[in-house]
C-alpha cells in the first residue's frame, strides 16, 4: 500500500500520446461532444481540436443513458431523432482530418449487440483509439478490454469517489489510455461549484498509479478545471460544452469555450 504502481508500457497510441503530453508539463484537456447532435458536429470537433483539446470524446447516442444527466440526454435524443446510428457516426468520423485522438463514449450494449469484431471494425474505420463504457465495470470489462487492446484500442475504466483504495488500484491497473476519475457521486451535468470529491479522487489516484489521471463529471468552468488539474493530470468537460451546442453556439462558440479552458489550464 501507498506505493505508486508503475504500469507496463502499452502499445495503445492513445496512452503513448497522453503520457507524452504530460511529460511536456501540459495539462490534458478532453472535451466531450455528442456525435450527430446536429449538422455541424464534425466542424465542432474540428474547432475544439484547433482550440487545444488533447483528445476528444465522441458520445455515441444510446436509447437509455443511465450515467447522463438532462443535457447529454437531450443531445443524445436529438441525435437519435435525427436518425443517427453508431455506424453512421463512425462513417462520418472517417472523413475527419485532425491530429487529436478520438475516444468513443457510449453504453456497453452497443458493443455487445454488434459483436466485438463489427464494433471494433467501426472504431478502426472512424480512427477511434479509445472507448469508455460507464456501465461496464472492472469485473465485466476484461473480454472487451483484451479484444480492444489487440486492435490497438484503449478501454478506459472509471474510478468513483466510493471505490476503495485496493479496488482503485485494480481498476487503474486494468485501465488503458488513462484512468477516469469520477469527480462526484452523480450523473453528468453542470454544477455551480466543484465537488470536494473531485480533487480527492484525483489525489487518491495520483497516489497509487502512474497512469494518466483525468477527472470528469461536474467540471463546467475554466476555474473548476484549473482547481482539479492542480491535482490531476487533466480534465474531461462534457455537459458545459454540450449545453452551448444545444443552445446553438455552434463551432465558434465551442472554439471560444475550449480556448478558455485551455488557457486556464496553461496558467498552471
Amino acid at each position: 500500500m501507498g506505493e505508486i504502481l508503475i504500469e507496463n508500457e502499452t502499445s495503445c497510441s492513445l496512452e503513448v500520446r497522453l503520457r507524452s503530453q504530460r511529460a511536456k508539463g501540459r495539462k490534458i484537456l478532453v472535451p466531450y461532444v455528442t456525435g450527430g447532435y446536429d449538422d455541424s458536429w464534425l466542424e465542432t470537433i474540428q474547432a475544439i481540436a484547433e482550440a487545444g483539446a488533447d483528445a476528444i470524446e465522441i458520445g455515441i447516442p444510446f436509447s437509455d443513458p443511465i450515467m447522463d444527466g438532462p443535457i447529454i440526454q437531450a443531445a443524445s435524443q436529438q441525435a437519435l431523432d435525427r436518425g443517427v446510428t453508431p455506424a453512421s457516426i463512425f462513417a462520418q468520423l472517417e472523413k475527419l482530418d485532425i491530429d487529436v485522438p478520438l475516444i468513443a463514449m457510449t453504453y456497453c450494449n452497443l458493443v455487445f449487440h454488434s459483436g466485438f469484431e463489427r464494433f471494433g471494425g467501426w472504431l478502426s474505420m472512424g480512427g477511434v483509439t479509445g472507448t469508455i463504457f460507464p456501465d461496464l465495470p472492472l469485473e465485466e470489462s476484461h473480454k472487451w478490454s483484451d479484444y480492444a487492446e489487440s486492435i490497438g484500442i484503449a478501454n478506459i475504466l472509471l474510478v468513483a469517489p466510493t471505490s476503495s483504495i485496493s479496488r482503485s488500484q485494480e481498476i487503474a491497473s486494468a485501465s488503458r489510455g488513462f484512468v477516469y476519475g469520477v469527480g462526484l457521486m452523480g450523473v453528468t451535468g453542470i454544477r455551480a461549484s466543484l465537488a470536494e470529491s473531485a480533487s480527492k479522487v484525483a489525489s487518491s489516484l495520483k497516489a497509487i498509479t502512474d497512469r494518466v489521471v483525468l477527472v470528469g463529471i461536474g467540471i463546467s468552468t475554466p476555474q473548476q478545471a484549473k482547481e482539479v488539474a492542480q491535482v490531476s493530470d487533466g480534465v474531461i468537460v462534457g455537459s458545459a460544452l454540450v449545453k452551448r451546442l444545444l443552445d446553438g453556439e455552434g463551432p465558434n462558440g465551442a472554439y471560444a469555450f475550449i480556448s478558455s479552458l485551455r488557457s486556464g489550464l496553461d496558467d498552471l
Binding site: 436509447s63 440526454q73 455487445f112 449487440h113 468513483a160 469517489p161 466510493t162 471505490s163 469520477v182
Partner: protein, 396 residues
C-alpha cells in the same frame, strides 16, 4: 433430464449472480459499493432467523399471507381442464408486489438507510413501495414515466396519500424503461442514505436473485396447497411475465417437479419470445432492440407488462428449455379478463389475464383436455377497471 447444476436455486449465500450466460452486474462504478453492500446485507439477513421471522410475520399479519389456491369450477367445466388460481390478488395492495417490497424495506433499515426509491409502470410496485415505506417509517420517492402518470392518475394519488413523492419522468419514451433509467440516475447521487427498491427480478446482481427469493413464497405455498387438492403436482404451472417476478416466484418451487412451466408475455413486449441477448439496466438478458442495440418500447394493454426486457432467470430457464414462453395479444387478454369476472366472480388484473388468455386459447390444444393447471393470479383488477371500461366503450 435438464441439467440444472448451474441453477442458483441449489446455491444459497454464495450465488454469483449468473444464471448461465445471463445476469451479471453491469453498473456504473459509483454504484458498485452500494450493490456489494446490498448483496452482503441480503445474504446475512436471509440466514438470520430473526430477520426471517420479522419478514414472514409482516407478510402474514399485514400482507394477508398465506394466499389460498382456488379451484375455478365453472371455467374448468367449460374449458375441459382443471384450473386452479394462486390468489396473490388477495394480498394487501392487491398484488404479489408486497412480498418483495416488505423484504427490501426491511433491508433498507438493516443497512441504516432512511430513504427508498422505486420505479413504477402501472403504479402497482410504486403503491406497494409507498405502503412499505409508510409502514416502516422510510422516506419514499417513486419515479414514473409521464405517460404512465396520465394513464394511471389514481395510483399517483394513492402513492401521495401514502406519503410518497412521485416524480414524473419526461425523458425518452416517458414510460417504465425511462422511469428505471431515472431511478438509477437518482440512486447514483444519493446512494449514501437511499436504497433503490427494484420491482422485479431484474437489474444488477443481487436484485434478480434477491427479488426471486422474496417472491418464491408464492410457489412454496402453492405446491403443497395444490398437492393437497389434487394429490399431485399440476401438469402445467403458468404465470404472466413482465420483468418476471411473479413467474420466477411461482416457478422456483416447481423447477425440479414434473410440471411444465409456461410464462406468458404480451405480444407487444415478448422479450423472451422475440428479444435478443443484450446488456441493459445492469444485467445481461433478453431485450427488444433495434438492429444497432437501441432498446425498443414495449406495447400492451397492461402497463405492468410494458417492459422491453425480462429478468435473467427467465432468459436462462428458456435457454435450457426448462420453461417455455408464449405470448397473447390484447384482444385475447380483454376477453379473458371479462370471462374470469363473469364465470368465477374474480376480476383479474390485466397482467395475469395474459396467463388466462393463453389457457383459454390452448385448452384442448397445447394444454390437453383433462390437464391440471395452476395459474398465478398475480393481482386484482380494480386498478384496470377504468382502462377496460374505456376500451369496451362503456364510457362513450
Amino acid at each position: 433430464m435438464t441439467n440444472l447444476s448451474q441453477d442458483p436455486k441449489a446455491i444459497s449465500g454464495d450465488f454469483d449472480g449468473r444464471f448461465g450466460d445471463f445476469g451479471g452486474r453491469y453498473i456504473p462504478e459509483s454504484l458498485n459499493h452500494a450493490v456489494v453492500e446490498l448483496e452482503r446485507t441480503f445474504n446475512e439477513a436471509w440466514a438470520d432467523p430473526e430477520f426471517m421471522a420479522t419478514y414472514l410475520s409482516i407478510l402474514n399479519s399485514y400482507g394477508g399471507r398465506p394466499s389460498p389456491v382456488t379451484k375455478c369450477n365453472n371455467l374448468s367445466r367449460s374449458l375441459g381442464i382443471e384450473l386452479y388460481l394462486k390468489r396473490e390478488d388477495l394480498n394487501h395492495t392487491g398484488s404479489h408486489k408486497i412480498n418483495n417490497v416488505i423484504g427490501q424495506a426491511l433491508l433498507t433499515k438493516r443497512m441504516g438507510k432512511t430513504r427508498i426509491i422505486a420505479e413504477t409502470g402501472a403504479g402497482q410496485h410504486g403503491v406497494a413501495t409507498a405502503t412499505a415505506a409508510a409502514l416502516l417509517g422510510l422516506k419514499c420517492t417513486v419515479y414514473m414515466g409521464e405517460l404512465d402518470t396520465e394513464r394511471q392518475a389514481l395510483n399517483v394519488f394513492r402513492m401521495k396519500l401514502l406519503g410518497s413523492e412521485v416524480v414524473a419522468v419526461t425523458s425518452g419514451s416517458r414510460t417504465l424503461k425511462d422511469a428505471i433509467n431515472e431511478a438509477m440516475r437518482e440512486w447514483v447521487a444519493c446512494v449514501e442514505d437511499t436504497h433503490y427498491c427494484i420491482g422485479s427480478v431484474m437489474g444488477p446482481h443481487p436484485y434478480p436473485y434477491m427479488v426471486r427469493q422474496f417472491q418464491k413464497i408464492i410457489g412454496e405455498e402453492a405446491r403443497p396447497q395444490i398437492n393437497a387438492l389434487i394429490g399431485n403436482d399440476p401438469d402445467f404451472v403458468i404465470a404472466c411475465v413482465g420483468g418476471g417476478s411473479n413467474a420466477a416466484g411461482t416457478f422456483h418451487a416447481f423447477v425440479e417437479s414434473r410440471s411444465a412451466l409456461i410464462g406468458v408475455e404480451p405480444a407487444g413486449g415478448a422479450a423472451v419470445g422475440r428479444g435478443v441477448p443484450g446488456v441493459i439496466h445492469g444485467m445481461r438478458s433478453q431485450f427488444l432492440q433495434d438492429e444497432f442495440g437501441q432498446l425498443q418500447e414495449a406495447h400492451s394493454v397492461s402497463a405492468g407488462l410494458d417492459y422491453p426486457g425480462v429478468g435473467p432467470e427467465h432468459s436462462y430457464l428458456s435457454a435450457i428449455g426448462r420453461a417455455q414462453y408464449e405470448s397473447v395479444n390484447d384482444e385475447e387478454v380483454l376477453s379473458a379478463f371479462q370471462l374470469l369476472a363473469r364465470s368465477e366472480g374474480i376480476i383479474p388484473a390485466l397482467e395475469p389475464a395474459h396467463g388466462l388468455a393463453y389457457i383459454v386459447r390452448e385448452a384442448g390444444k397445447a394444454i390437453p383436455f383433462g390437464s391440471s393447471v395452476l395459474l398465478t393470479m398475480s393481482g386484482r383488477g380494480d386498478k384496470d377497471a377504468e382502462t377496460v371500461a374505456h376500451m369496451l366503450g362503456y364510457f362513450q
